[in-house]
Amino acid sequence: MRDELYQQTILEHNRSPRNFKKLEGATHVAEGYNPLCGDHLWVYMKVNAGGIIEEAAFEGSGCAISKASASMMTMALKGKTIAEANLLFDEFHKLAIGELKPDQQPNHLGKLTVFSGIWQYPARVKCAVLSWHTMHGALEKTKTVSTE
């Protein structure tokens, strides 16, 4: 039996996504698109002179998984350095493909471990990682990111 995918936290973030807006004065922006399912979003970040992510936001449309993942990501990014954000990207990516077991390996994922069962739904992994790849692309200054 697979783990339940649509947990309360995910449904709640889908219903009321946090930081769901265009961020004026963003220093880092990228567009993410999943041509297979039509998920389409923009990730915005405001990084200060000290390299700290002061604010993160997103807008766009997509399924509950992609929306909840983006919403929770923007919360997790706030106050992180770029290096910490990249580390979190790496951990979340490993979590989503089932390579990181949060109860066995040290990590910084916190509430994001709600996505720990998604690797059991291979067709949905790309929904969960879209905003993360987009965020990573924004930090790397890649304008458009596509997950397929």
């Binding site: 449904l11 297979l36 399912c37 389409h40």
Partner: protein, 413 residues
């Protein structure tokens, strides 16, 4: 009360021919409603392909040994069965390809690049599958042709008057889907072909979804080309058909070079083989071609009348059952429609819906169905689609409806 049409249509008996219907998914009996993507395979198709691999493996059109002769005979017999299925005048008008997509690319690259010139116009419709859009866009880039698109109305039907307005002496080719894979619309292909021919344009019919919907007679239709895929008519993947009028196929250059398509090869030059082999370079999908024969023979024993009535009943039942659920809207409400139900549910993205109904053992397709322009036309990113075959039942559609309600309950938590 007995119904004379239903007397020969025994669904329980027919379902027994499909071993895949017996599997369980996530602990529930499989409800397979993704037949527009691919159909399940009856045992006779699997057996025919197995028999080739177990006792009959050989290449075709080459060896003089026993097995090669047997394989060649079986392969060419399949071509006869396809000819009879499409009612083409000549057996060499039947070309085996990888599928409908390759057939369309063959027409675009061979007929299109040979006959179409800069400024010539190609007409397609707004409801085409990407495989009937992209090959023509590629041709337009290569040859400088112009692509025109017949608009569709809110029911998902082509607007025929607009089609007539697009037709002109510049129109050289019209390529139209007979039955839409994402809307279920049945297009008036006969009238489209007649109007095109009056302007001297050739017509390509994409019959990928039509093969299971209606008997096909290419001579009566008078289409210039018609394509379909084996796997959408209960046959294997990897084999499809291109029908073309002899006069066009004769005049067209080969699509690919290689073995089997030549008469003789020297470094001074090569002469090409006769039809149909001119268009069948390389070793074909022999087992698949043999499997396709079995599929078509099986399918034709079912009987169109009983099947048609059953499919209309389950389409009607499925449509009414889904529409009785709050928040469900059906995309594609053409007057002439086949058993495809594309729908959206308020507040639930089709992908979430697809995952949730899958938990109940129900296989539907979610996404844009390779028809992104249709999604753009209706202003939606995607739909959920239940596409029904003759082996589906009203009970299975009730299970789908219950699964949709359950998904709604999850999202209302």
């Amino acid at each position: 009360m007995t119904n004379p049409y239903m007397s020969t249509f025994n669904i329980q008996k027919l379902r027994q021919d499909f071993p895949n219907l017996n599997i369980r998914v996530h602990g529930k009996p499989l409800v397979y409603l993704d037949n527009a993507a691919t159909t399940l395979k009856p045992r006779c198709v699997i057996d025919a392909m197995n028999a080739y691999y177990v006792t009959g493996v050989a290449n075709v059109h080459r060896g003089v040994h026993y097995l090669s002769e047997q394989a060649t005979a079986a392969f060419e017999y399949s071509r006869q069965v396809v000819r009879q299925f499409l009612h083409s005048a000549k057996v060499h008008e039947i070309i085996f390809t990888k599928g409908a997509t390759e057939s369309l690319n063959l027409i675009a690259q061979s007929y299109g690049r040979h006959f179409l010139k800069k400024g010539d116009e190609i007409i397609i419709s707004h409801m085409e599958h990407h495989s009937n859009i992209v090959p023509w866009q590629m041709l337009c880039q290569q040859a400088g042709c112009v692509l025109k698109v017949i608009p569709i109305n809110d029911r998902g039907e082509i607007i025929f008057e607009e089609y007539l307005k697009l037709l002109s002496d510049k129109t050289k080719l019209v390529s139209l889907v007979w039955v839409s894979n994402s809307l279920g619309t049945v297009n008036p292909v006969k009238a489209v072909i007649e109007a095109a021919h009056k302007q001297g344009a050739v017509v390509v019919i994409d019959a990928a979804q039509a093969v299971t919907h209606t008997p096909i007679n290419v001579q009566e239709l008078d289409c210039d080309f018609l394509v379909f895929s084996g796997h959408k008519v209960f046959g294997p993947t990897g084999v499809g058909v291109l029908y073309g009028k002899e006069k066009w196929l004769e005049a067209m250059p080969p699509y690919q070079g290689g073995g089997d398509m030549i008469k003789s090869v020297t470094f001074a030059g090569t002469t090409y083989n006769v039809l149909p082999y001119k268009f069948e370079a390389g070793t074909p999908a022999i087992a698949e071609v043999i499997g396709l024969r079995s599929a078509l023979e099986f399918f034709q024993t079912i009987g169109w009348e009983g099947m048609k009535q059953h499919k209309e009943e389950i389409l009607d039942h499925g449509t009414r059952t889904l529409l009785s659920i709050d928040g469900v809207r059906i995309i594609g409400t053409a007057k002439d429609k086949t058993s495809i139900i594309s729908f959206v549910v308020d507040g639930i993205h089709p992908h979430d819906l697809g995952t949730l109904v899958d938990q109940e053992g129900v296989a539907i397709r979610t996404g844009h169905h390779c028809t992104q322009p249709v999604m753009q036309r209706f202003g939606i990113p995607a739909t959920a689609r239940a596409s029904l075959a003759f082996y589906n039942t009203k009970e299975e559609l009730d299970i789908l409806a219950a699964a949709v309600k359950k998904a709604q309950a999850v999202f209302k938590q």
